[in-house]
Symmetry: C2
């Protein structure tokens, strides 16, 4: 335990990031300063939003600077602490970055209770992923019992939780995912009512067949043609939740939804959100999500890849190729 391997941003990517986007740097493990804590990371979260953080454009959070450790959520164990609330051995989560050892102010870390669920689940269902699904579906989407909810990226991290919450709340849940295997997972393991394989053909016809009462809430993780198609199927007063647009993040220009005037015809709204705005209510969501998990109503699926910090570029490619099922997590 003398070196800290870090994955730093080496260049602004054009299109899909690859190994040349990052550089691996080893530096000596540092000691925490006053009020700081050192965490040995065990798992890192892979998120579609990471692509936006690499662009040098103003957004909801500053871009990662060239030469800076790549931003990432992580979980791990405290190995040194100069903060009164944390002791060596505590299990914690926070924005550790893609590195083996992170030094963070105590205020930026949260203790987790691994008697409830294993550590990686605190990056998924009991982490930002679960919070995003929870507040996106219930607050922004305002999904109500008896309504039809459509979720894209249904086999992915947020989508898999959003659809399950829809079912728990008494909605009809229709997923959209790529490939037979993912669709089977979404229906058989997650309990969605149906799942449309967008790679298999005519999404529009399938969507029409599966939503006889049209779509009250569309939880969008993908953007592009799928968003545009679902817009043609909105129910009156429908809510379109803009959570992400993974199909567009590596494109030079984002494709806008040409059917957006469906919002007028259906008196519908399209709304974006960021989970950070709900920070004051994380506790409420964690209690409810944790309860469903304990009762077996909610399946938490993590897709854990080995490879350590050096494996980050490959793991990110896996994410953007849509090869993960459930929450993609990198084991450090």
């Amino acid at each position: 335990m003398s070196d800290n391997l870090q994955c730093r941003l080496a260049a602004r990517p054009v299109g899909l990031p690859d190994a040349s986007t990052f550089e691996m740097v080893s530096e000596p493990i540092a000691e925490p300063g006053e009020g700081e804590v050192r965490v040995e990371t065990s798992h890192l979260s892979l998120d579609p939003a990471m692509r936006g953080w690499m662009n040098d454009v103003p957004s909801y959070i500053p871009p990662v600077a060239i030469g800076e450790v790549m931003r990432a959520g992580g979980v791990g164990r405290v190995t040194a602490s100069k903060h009164p609330k944390f002791s060596v051995g505590d299990e914690v989560t926070g924005l550790t970055g893609v590195q083996e050892h992170a030094i963070l102010p105590g205020e930026a870390l949260f203790k987790v209770d691994t008697s409830l669920a294993p550590l990686p689940t605190f990056l998924g269902t009991l982490g930002m992923t679960g919070m995003t699904a929870y507040f996106g579906l219930l607050d922004i989407g305002a999904a109500k019992e008896g309504e039809t909810v459509v979720v894209s990226g249904a086999a992915g991290a947020v989508g898999s939780v959003a659809g399950q919450i829809a079912k728990i709340k008494g909605c009809r849940a229709i997923g959209i995912a790529g490939g037979q295997e993912k669709c089977a997972f979404v229906v058989d393991e997650l309990g969605f009512d149906a799942c449309i394989d967008y790679k298999a053909g005519d999404i529009k016809a399938e969507l029409k067949r599966l939503t006889p009462d049209r779509v009250d809430v569309y939880f969008d993780n993908v953007g592009g043609d799928i968003l545009n198609t679902v817009l043609t199927r909105l129910a009156m007063k429908a809510r379109v939740v803009i959570c992400g647009a993974i199909s567009q993040y590596n494109e030079a220009e984002t494709k806008g939804p040409s059917n957006y005037m469906a919002l007028l015809v259906s008196r519908a709204r399209m709304e974006g959100f960021l989970v950070f705005d709900f920070a004051s209510r994380y506790r409420e969501a964690a209690i409810e999500l944790g309860g469903w998990l304990a009762e077996g109503k909610l399946v938490s699926k993590e897709d854990i890849v080995d490879g350590g910090v050096a494996g980050f570029p490959d793991a990110l490619q896996k994410l953007f190729r849509g090869e993960n099922v459930g929450k993609l997590v990198l084991k450090v």
Copy 2:
């Protein structure tokens, strides 16, 4: 008084409608049946929404059939009545269609009081146009005192009223319109704080200069590039009101707003509406709008063109070329 000249839809237009889209037909003036009223139309409303009504696609209202009298709002005088609530000489408004004499069920007509304003104003500020601006800005847009409101099509029928209501409610109102003359009208006669001439150059830079606190409410009548540009300037929790998209109605394919992910970054919403949904509150809006008109707080501007029923195709072209200032009305 023996013939009724009608403008009927002859063909589904591709692109901008012209004379070949319609046929002029004269038929004998008919007598109203039981419960019906005959109205001699004096003025007809020209509306961007008319373009959508000509397309054979499902929407919020059935398309006008080939051979049917073109749908239009009108005002006029009752010339025969078999409905207990209407007498000869009453001044009324309703969906008369583009014809000199309309027979309508009494329930589809509303009496107007020309002691408050001249007849054409009941197609504009005190008609559907004013209602659209009122509910779009205050209900869907939820504009509040101190906020910055941007209105496109600011010299047009709905836009000119929406911006004035914004000012009355204590907002900062920035218009977007085409040409120096319209912009001068918007600022000097309607009292907007500023107006951006989209034909003069860099809308984005002008918008940035004029909205130091960004845009809380964007009332969109035009769609296309202007919508896409305003999306880059949204304030946190902004509301984008989708009222129309006149720049796109004659295009083969609607241009989607490629910057729609700004909704996520700004935690903003984009919402469509139709004025008909507020029918139960028309009276409330009419009283408030009429009051502002009487107090001189609200300027009602009608652009009245002669030409009668036969002049309808030309008047419609004037509308889609953006040549009107204020509410475009055809004198029958």
